[in-house]
């Protein structure tokens, strides 16, 4: 029978593996989702999952969230409620925030832990801008195919 105290005194951090890294801040992920759309949001939240070493656990949930958002947007584009050309961009922002929201639900404890432990966050600009650009391109292709 294992001794619980002895289990506690086993190392959790290893030279072979880097320790868990602080995720991108909620502000950075929200910015990316808002301006990059659902694909960009998927990218940055997925990157957070990688930093937190929970990619295998989170990716199925994130894929489901992205698929649901894309399906809804696809339906809305097929059944437009108005002729406004701003609708695809509006759907992109709402969809991006929705995927960011799913990511927040998955990582909220780690985000709060990082805030309260005053951990240094990675600079969100580089990843954020990269995902916004890539996400916008992907979304543009998606809208082209949908319309």
């Amino acid at each position: 029978m294992s001794n619980p105290r002895e289990d506690l005194l086993q190392p959790s951090l290893s030279v072979d593996q880097t320790p868990l890294a602080a995720p991108y801040s909620t502000g950075a992920t929200l910015f990316t989702g808002l301006f990059g759309g659902p694909f960009a949001a998927f990218g940055i939240v997925g990157l957070n999952a990688l930093r937190l070493k929970r990619l295998a656990r989170d990716v199925p949930v994130l894929i489901a969230a992205l698929a649901a958002v894309i399906a809804v947007i696809w339906w809305l584009l097929q059944n437009p409620i108005s002729d406004s050309r701003a609708l695809p961009r509006l759907y992109s922002r709402i969809g991006g925030v929705a995927v960011v929201g799913a990511g927040y639900l998955l990582h909220r404890q780690q985000q709060r832990n990082a805030d309260l432990a005053n951990l240094q966050r990675p600079n969100g600009w580089v990843a954020g801008v990269a995902f916004v650009i890539a996400g916008s391109v992907l979304y543009g292709v998606f809208v082209y195919l949908a319309l």
């Binding site: 105290r5 506690l8 005194l9 190392p11 959790s12 951090l13 290893s14 030279v15 320790p19 868990l20 602080a22 937190l52 404890q109 780690q110 709060r112 832990n113 990082a114 309260l116 432990a117 951990l119």
Partner: protein, 222 residues
């Protein structure tokens, strides 16, 4: 029996540190070490004083010297852990604190510091378990109670009461860390005015504490 020169120096250094005069304390230690360079107590106090002055490289060099003279000295090993934490070397810091815990398995402060390291590396579950283990040996350990409070603030929704915070307030009401955690808890509950008021009072009492000044400034922006 008259105190030795080293003992007298250490006594004076303690007085200076109590009066928040670490630079004067370091000067005194430097003079004493010039005549007694291998005195472990003086070296250790010098290392801790450098640590207080954020002179980490000097502190590390001195701690390593202590380790060659007395490898088992627990205060030196604890300081080395703190320095590694400050240098963001969590893997090595964990090795040091685990060795301390194996030698002193009922020392609640070491459990608290290890729990703090686990919080810094996002291992929330283990942080809580370590804090609980430390509290088994000393139910009033402020270090362990503080970690448990942070765990409660992370895990529970705003408005929920943290028993650990209540215990901290009861047992260590004047500790700066306790008051900082109260501010965070007030902010989490949405009582921004009370949090701001308390942070301002803390700044008035500790005007040279940069972290407090930043926190008070952040409230003003909000």
């Amino acid at each position: 029996m008259e105190p030795s020169s080293a003992e007298e120096t250490l006594r004076q250094v303690e007085l200076l540190l109590d009066r928040n005069r670490p630079r004067d304390a370091r000067l005194l230690l430097k003079t004493a070490l010039a005549t007694d360079p291998e005195n472990v107590d003086l070296l250790l106090k010098s290392a801790w004083t450098d640590y207080l002055l954020d002179e980490e490289d000097s502190a590390i060099a001195t701690v390593k010297r202590v380790s060659t003279l007395e490898p088992e000295e627990p205060s030196a090993r604890l300081l080395y852990f703190e320095l590694l934490l400050g240098k963001n070397q969590p893997v090595e810091a964990e090795r040091v604190i685990l060795e301390l815990l194996r030698d002193y398995p009922e020392h609640s402060h070491y459990y608290g510091r290890y729990a703090h390291l686990m919080l810094k590396t996002l291992n929330l579950g283990k942080a809580r378990q370590l804090a609980d283990e430390g509290l088994r040996y000393d139910s009033e350990s402020d270090e362990c109670l503080a970690v448990k409070t942070v765990c409660d603030l992370i895990e529970r929704p705003a408005g929920a009461t943290s028993q650990s915070l209540q215990q901290l307030l009861a047992r260590h009401p004047e500790s700066l860390r306790t008051l900082l955690l109260v501010i965070v808890a007030l902010e989490e509950r949405g009582d921004i005015k009370a949090a701001e008021r308390l942070s301002r009072e803390l700044v008035q009492a500790n005007p040279s504490n940069e972290a407090l000044v930043e926190m008070a400034h952040a409230f003003r922006i909000k």
